[in-house]
């Protein structure tokens, strides 16, 4: 398979206006991915599926990821006058980042025997602007996985043929895999509590008395 940079160049050339970004990965695997903007992702996905150099005909998995609102601390060097002398001083710049949800697709090509190419899409926020284009019309196998993400993360896939909850019941209102989900308090006795469970058990114990 071509490198991510080459793929990015090809997509840039074929679809003008598409915004792409290579998402770095600091983990030992170093497996980077390609972020695509929501307006052009469908076109890009079509290209990845049909383009003669790509032929990504198999989507092996679709994953949801939840990013909470966060405060990012960044160290920047600022030139400052200290006692009349100009010096470089490190400052911590804090920026607030609104939370968002992501859908990550792992693509392989059975025909050209290459992959995986990892593409991801991002919603604008976690509350109301949680729509993403569905890629089920391109990779049919995404259908159930996108339904599962809809069920557990609350991402709404526009253009999905049958977007219903798949694991939880239809009247269920929460999204259990989101990081701020609070599970119903429905177990009373835990024989070996630890960490979070210990805290929970202590709370229950004081509430019961």
């Amino acid at each position: 398979m071509e490198t991510l940079e080459q793929i990015k160049l090809r997509i840039d050339a074929a679809i003008p206006g598409a915004r792409l970004e290579i998402v770095p990965n600091d983990s030992p695997s170093g497996q980077r991915s390609l972020w695509l903007d929501n307006e052009h992702v469908f076109e890009v996905a079509k290209l990845l599926h049909d383009g003669p150099q790509f032929r990504f005909d198999y989507c092996s998995s679709v994953t949801g990821v939840d990013f909470l609102d966060a405060e990012l601390a960044e160290k920047i060097k600022v030139k400052k006058l200290v006692d009349g002398v100009e010096k470089e001083v490190e400052e911590v710049k804090k920026t607030k980042r609104a939370g968002y949800l992501e859908a990550v697709y792992h693509l392989y090509s059975m025909e050209l025997k290459h992959g995986p190419l990892i593409i991801r899409m991002r919603t604008e926020n976690r509350a109301d602007k949680n729509h993403l284009p569905s890629l089920t019309p391109i990779w049919r196998g995404c259908e159930f996985q996108e339904r599962e993400i809809f069920d557990l993360y609350g991402i709404i896939f526009n253009g999905h043929p049958d977007l219903r909850r798949i694991l939880m019941w239809d009247d269920f209102k929460d999204f259990p895999m989101r990081k701020d989900y609070v599970a119903p308090d429905d177990y009373e006795y835990e024989p070996t509590p630890h960490d979070d469970v210990l805290e929970k058990s202590k709370r229950q114990h004081t509430a019961a008395n």
Binding site: W169, F172, A183, P184, D186, E188, E190, Q204
Partner: protein, 203 residues
């Protein structure tokens, strides 16, 4: 009937019994389970019913595909919250007398999924359970042991009097309310008539 008199009469060549003994003996040796499984425990249940472990020795080889023909419900496996109303409904459709074996860690307490959001923490929250089997999954021998325990329990049931069996009491319920799918959890999360949580003692 007095045991001493019974054995004395037996020495004389007179065999005596009671309606209760015959009745219980008949029932305990033909307990037909309901044929349904929920998870990996069901595989052990199937193994227990096949030739190697041979549940047929205890008169329980006829797994009934309809709750209306079954006497025993073996809750074999994880009961998810989505599945719980159906399990209760199946129990309600079984005719009396009926018994329940909760098989495996999940069915008795939620097991490894106890801290999860989607698994019912024990089927005894909605229906009365006669025998609990721990294990993950329990071996077929454990199921057979549970079965023998149930047989013993049936054998000791009385037809009349204050301690008569549940289904001879016209006041005792034979059906239990089916929980509804709520917005965050099952409603109600448990049936307080059937299940009272154990008191917490922790310093």
């Amino acid at each position: 009937m007095d045991e001493g008199l019974k054995s004395e009469l037996q020495k004389q060549g007179i065999f005596t019994t009671t309606v209760e003994d015959i009745y219980n003996w008949g029932r305990k040796n033909s307990v037909w389970p309901l044929q349904f499984g929920l998870a990996c425990c069901a595989i052990e249940m199937i193994a227990a019913s096949m030739a190697r472990y041979d549940l047929a020795r205890f008169g329980a080889e006829v797994f009934r595909p309809s709750p209306r023909q079954a006497d025993l419900m073996i809750v074999a496996g994880t009961v998810t919250k989505k599945m719980a109303p159906q399990v209760v409904r199946l129990y309600n459709q079984m005719p009396e007398p009926k018994y329940v074996i909760a098989m495996g860690a999940c069915a008795i307490s939620g097991g490894p999924f106890k801290q999860g959001y989607n698994v019912l923490k024990g089927i005894d929250r909605y229906i009365p359970v006669d025998v609990h089997i721990p294990g993950c999954p329990p071996r077929p021998e454990a199921l057979i042991h549970a079965f023998m325990t149930l047989q013993k329990k049936i054998d000791e049931q009385q037809l009349t009097g204050k301690n008569r069996a549940r289904y001879f009491d016209p006041e005792a319920p034979s059906e239990f309310p089916v929980p509804k799918f709520g917005e965050h959890d099952l409603e109600p999360p448990s049936n307080p008539d059937v299940w009272q949580p154990p008191a917490l003692i922790r310093g």
